[in-house]
């Protein structure tokens, strides 16, 4: 008997701790909902940013918004189903891991609009699906410029999570920025082959700092915690990614290359409300669209004159005068 009670107790505890619930919102015309990836809605990263974008849209356009959290990859499909049954005008998937699931759902339910962050289907985008991608190379370019201008040892580093085209956009954008600021700067680039192993990130950063780099930029998720920690311990500089990471080490994170998922989500909501939902296409958000940028706290550690130069660069990128490289080939082209 006692055994059974314990079992039930453990199950209840487990359910409470793992399951979190979405909230139902009042009806008012258009409904938009999103499915988070495994980080949850308060992940201080994309999911949170996405939800902020939706909430802004809720206020602005008097629509109703909702979210469902995923605790594991297997939750994506059922969450999509739940939101489909709830009668939403648009369902978002936050994060590239949902790429296959959402495409499948879009094909199954041609009447339902879907959108996804960080995934491009190219030619094969179903007519009721929008892929939203970011020009990560552009903010990387700007922080690269800052690094190139601020390095005293003429050596900077880049730590990537895993080597695939998305992360390479960060790498080559950064390199282009550094080289533009100062062609003599040597750039160490290394991949951790993980987005979670903070200890490995710290080891790589330690090595770069030992080899005389004084600024290291990371595009590596949790691995970056180790990079920033190494900067803190050795009193060197680090550059954050995705969101403003200055709070992790206020005196050592000089700037961050930010991805404004909130702006992108808001933007698509605005299009949907206007009846101009860009189904069947891939939209790409860069500096021009306000989809990316550098951290607002950059003024704390970056000299004002460098930030002014960054503003000028930004204007040039927006006007199309500068096209930031994002692949090994375009970078090689750029170096000429």
């Amino acid at each position: 008997m006692l055994k059974r009670i314990i079992t039930i107790f453990v199950i209840v505890l487990f359910v409470i701790s793992v399951v979190s619930c979405g909230q139902a919102k009042k009806e008012s015309g258009i409904k938009i909902a999103m499915v988070t990836d495994v980080g949850g809605v308060n992940d201080q990263s994309f999911n949170q940013s996405a939800w902020e974008g939706l909430k802004k849209a809720e206020k602005e356009f008097a629509i109703s918004v909702d979210y469902l959290e995923s605790n594991q990859d297997a939750d994506y499909a059922p969450n999509m189903e739940t939101l489909l049954d709830a009668g939403n005008n648009l369902i978002w998937g936050i994060g590239f891991k949902m790429g296959d699931t959402i495409k499948e759902k879009a094909l199954e339910n041609p009447e339902q609009n879907y959108a996804i962050i960080d995934y491009a289907y190219g030619e094969e985008t179903p007519a009721n699906l929008v892929g939203v991608v970011f020009k990560e190379q552009e903010p990387s370019f700007l922080v690269g410029y800052i690094a190139g201008r601020m390095t005293k040892t003429n050596k900077v580093g880049f730590v990537g999570g895993m080597k695939f085209p998305l992360i390479e956009k960060f790498e080559y954008g950064f390199k282009a920025g550094v080289k533009l600021a100062n062609p003599d700067v040597e750039i160490f680039a290394q991949y951790a082959d993980s987005f979670t192993d903070a200890a490995k990130g710290k080891a790589i950063a330690n090595q770069m700092y030992k080899n005389d780099a004084d600024i290291v930029y990371h595009a590596a998720g949790g691995v970056g915690d180790g990079v920033i920690e190494a900067a803190k311990e050795q009193d060197k500089f680090a550059i954050g990614v995705d969101r403003d990471q200055n709070s992790l080490a206020p005196e050592h994170v000089i700037t961050s290359a930010m991805k404004r998922v909130d702006n992108a989500i808001f933007n698509v909501a605005a299009l949907l409300v206007k009846g101009e939902f860009p189904g069947g296409t891939t939209v790409s958000y860069g500096l021009k669209e306000g989809g990316v940028g550098i951290a607002p706290t950059s003024y704390k550690l970056v000299p004002a004159e460098i930030l002014e130069e960054v503003e000028e660069l930004k204007a040039k990128v927006i006007s199309g005068e500068i096209v930031v490289p994002s692949t090994p080939d375009t970078f090689a082209e750029w170096m000429k």
């Binding site: 201080q44 080597k163 903070a198 030992k210």
Partner: protein, 316 residues
């Protein structure tokens, strides 16, 4: 030239120490539990909750030692839960371990959201409130020893002390002998008046305490905050190290150092532009560990009663 080689070797050793430390604590936890006859694959979950407790207590209290011990206590509570299921109720130890892994991750996330305004990441602890770094500034800047020991936290040295203490306890004290006898042949031990239940309880609780230390060695030393992906599999690596180390503290230590060293080597090699892909280099720690263990260590055998719940025969 020689200088460069030496400083690179020092860096690899430094990485080895940093990387192995959390694994050493956690695998010691595994050693204790399994030698008493209780399989503990919940090390990962205990490590996660320990990492969270360390980061959270460290942030709110500001004292690393209180945080470290607190992490041990919280880990110990999870150990108690595991012992409760496995020892008192004779539940399947693997299943209970899996449940602990889910529970550790889930509760850490739940508490993090409660305590940190809904965030899944705890706030960063200031450098001064992290573990002390006892050998900073002791050696000359840029010297071989300085590269190894600069910025190594107290947790690193403590891990080695713990290995010695556990070894001494297990092989040089009568309590250690009791522990091992309970894991080898609980019925015989019981016949001789050893309280099997009590010893297993203590061992499994201590295994949680050490896993908690392992987690805190990450969140209070390697980094200064907890995030749900911080531990990501280190608990399982520690479990494997304990098995490779033949269920002995000194063996587990060597296996952890081997893994950490291979990781250091991978980081070192990763800086060069080889034609082979970085993914292959990143596989090194796993490949080296497996090859060395298959090639040199030989067959390892678990304590005979490992995994078998002990139930006393009914008195008539």
């Amino acid at each position: 030239m020689i200088d460069t080689i030496l400083s690179n070797i020092a860096l690899i050793i430094g990485t080895t120490l940093m990387y192995s430390t959390p694994l050493i604590y956690t695998s010691l936890g595994g050693v204790l539990s399994e030698n008493s006859g209780v399989i503990n694959i919940g090390l990962e979950g205990m490590m996660i909750i320990g990492a969270f407790a360390g980061a959270a207590i460290g942030y709110f209290v500001g004292d690393p030692w209180i945080a470290f011990i607190g992490a041990g206590i919280v880990g110990g509570l999870f150990g108690l839960l595991h012992a409760f299921a496995c020892v008192t109720f004779g539940a399947n130890q693997v299943v209970s371990g899996i449940a602990i892994n889910f529970l550790g991750a889930g509760i850490a996330l739940f508490l993090s959201r409660m305590l940190f305004e809904g965030a899944t990441m705890t706030k960063s602890i200031a450098l001064d409130n992290k573990m002390p770094r006892p050998l900073n500034g002791v050696f000359h800047d840029g010297s071989f020893l300085n590269i190894i020991f600069n910025n190594q936290y107290a947790t690193v040295y403590l891990a080695f002390i713990m290995v010695f203490l556990i070894w001494f306890f297990m092989y040089k004290t009568k309590y250690g002998l009791r522990l091992r006898s309970v894991g080898e042949h609980p019925t015989a031990a019981d016949t001789l008046g050893i309280n099997v239940i009590k010893i297993r309880y203590l061992a499994v609780i201590m295994s949680g305490v050490f896993s908690g230390f392992g987690g805190a060695a990450m969140s209070l030393a390697i980094v200064s905050n907890f995030r749900p992906t911080l531990v990501s599999g280190h608990g399982f690596i520690a479990l494997a190290a304990m098995i490779f180390g033949k269920w002995k503290p000194q063996g587990a230590l060597l296996a952890c150092l081997l893994f950490g060293g291979a990781q250091g080597l991978a980081v070192f090699l990763g800086q060069f532009d080889f034609e082979i892909s970085s993914q292959l280099i990143s596989m090194l720690p796993y490949v080296i560990t497996i090859v060395v263990l298959i090639g040199f260590v030989g067959k390892s055998a678990a304590p005979s009663a490992d995994g078998i719940p002990y139930e006393r025969e009914q008195k008539n």
